[in-house]
């Protein structure tokens, strides 16, 4: 039962996010816009590029959707409203999101087009920049919660949300999450205006619709992960638990989508250097600081 509810709210969330994306990125608010755009994509021709690697080309978007859904499966919307409350939830989230890299490289390699290929390999470089900054802040979250279960991680924040307990980890995680979801200014693999859409360049019609849907699901999963790990998940006064989850997830997703409007794209070399010189040092310091606090303060 709760599986069905989560899947339906995922569909509603993906639609709401598509509306918000139009608003945040292009500046016009239209409630029916995404529906028409999806319908138009369905009716458009879906071409297979010449000399393409058919298996990779077809599997890329589907694997991306699977990865997003697996990540969503361990995110609680309310204490009982979760698809699977795995004991290793936080680790499973990492494992699921690792396939985003695989799927994007498959999608870039598949059509045998120069733009897509460059975009796919670029994402591998981006992965090396963001990957450690996803897992290291989560370690500090697990240290406080003494568990990897996402439900218990939310419960551990009853006294104080992690965004205040470990603000450094929060900032690192959100930036890395934006890199993982290739959101501007960290949108190297689709770099609109520079790589002609990059990974998306050779996808048309219904295949592009699946790719875009998968990306929405991944953004929702990462906003959900941010809310679960740092913003107290379903915790909040007056409103029911699921409402707090929904509000927080959509606000975080909208914030992540709109950053790109105010910042230029960051070059791969610069992103790598920043992540490893500044990011990793801060992430290690974060683990140490949280370690000391967790031993001294009993919350």
């Amino acid at each position: 039962m709760s599986i069905l509810v989560v899947l339906l709210s995922l569909a509603a969330g993906a639609y709401a996010l598509a509306v918000i994306e139009r608003w945040a990125v292009h500046g016009h608010l239209s409630l029916t816009g995404p529906a028409w755009a999806a319908l138009a994509l369905m009716g458009r021709e879906s071409l297979l590029a010449r000399k393409s690697d058919r298996l990779f080309f077809e599997l890329g978007p589907v694997l991306l959707l699977v990865a997003g859904l697996m990540a969503v499966a361990v995110i609680p919307l309310a204490p009982e409203l979760i698809i699977t409350d795995l004991a290793t939830g936080a680790l499973f989230l990492n494992a699921a999101l690792a396939y985003v890299l695989v799927a994007l490289i498959m999608a870039g390699w598949g059509p045998n087009g120069a733009y897509a290929m460059i975009a796919g390999w670029r994402f591998l470089g981006q992965f090396i920049a963001y990957a450690m900054l996803i897992v290291m802040p989560i370690t500090a979250v697990a240290m406080r919660a003494e568990s990897l279960s996402t439900v218990e991680i939310v419960a551990s924040q009853a006294q104080l949300w992690n965004v205040l307990y470990q603000p450094m980890g929060f900032v690192l995680f959100v930036v890395a999450a934006m890199g993982l979801a290739w959101l501007p200014p960290l949108d190297l693999p689709d770099a609109t205006g520079e790589l002609a859409g990059g990974v998306e360049a050779e996808y048309t019609g219904v295949r592009l619709a699946v790719l875009r849907l998968a990306r929405m699901v991944i953004i929702l999963a990462l906003a959900g992960a941010t809310v679960t790990f740092y913003l107290g998940g379903w915790l909040g006064p007056w409103l029911p638990a699921w409402a707090w989850s929904a509000i927080k997830i959509l606000v975080v997703a909208a914030a992540m989508l709109s950053v790109g409007r105010y910042m230029p794209r960051i070059r791969e070399a610069r992103y790598l250097a920043l992540s490893w010189k500044l990011g990793i040092s801060l992430a290690l310091a974060n683990i140490f600081v949280v370690g000391v606090i967790a031993l001294v303060v009993p919350i």
Partner: protein, 124 residues
């Protein structure tokens, strides 16, 4: 969902969902096909480059210039495999755990600094 389900049934659900995604995508493709098919026209299937097929395979154009980072990444990624179980029992073990991992992380961080000094943190 009540008390925590058995691990096996949880993974069965996840597997079922993954298979369900394939079914969902296939039905979308079927729907799109019912609306209309791609017309076969010459030149339509050339990748968006400059209107012609490239002479060489396209992968020869890209050089992975982040090799130095990639090697360091391997070391750090291995380290994370130890960090997660450590993080769960951290508060139970107390100061000993902090010192144990502190030494480990200090050595790793020195490795990062050494790599940095040798120019590994640079786009080759």
């Amino acid at each position: 969902m009540g008390p925590r389900m058995s691990e096996l049934s949880q993974y069965a659900i996840l597997f079922g969902l993954s298979v369900g995604v394939f079914g969902f995508v296939l039905s979308l493709y079927g729907l799109a096909r019912a609306i209309g098919r791609a017309r076969a026209e010459p030149g339509k299937d050339v990748p968006a480059t400059a209107g012609t097929l490239s002479r060489d395979p396209v992968w020869v154009r890209y050089h992975a210039r982040y090799a130095g980072y990639a090697l360091l990444f391997l070391a750090f990624d291995m380290e994370m495999a130890f960090m997660y179980p450590w993080a769960v029992v951290y508060r139970e073990e107390g100061l000993i755990a902090l010192l144990d991992m502190g030494v480990f992380l200090a050595i790793l961080f020195l490795g990062l600094l050494y790599g940095w000094s040798q120019g590994a943190l640079r786009r080759q």
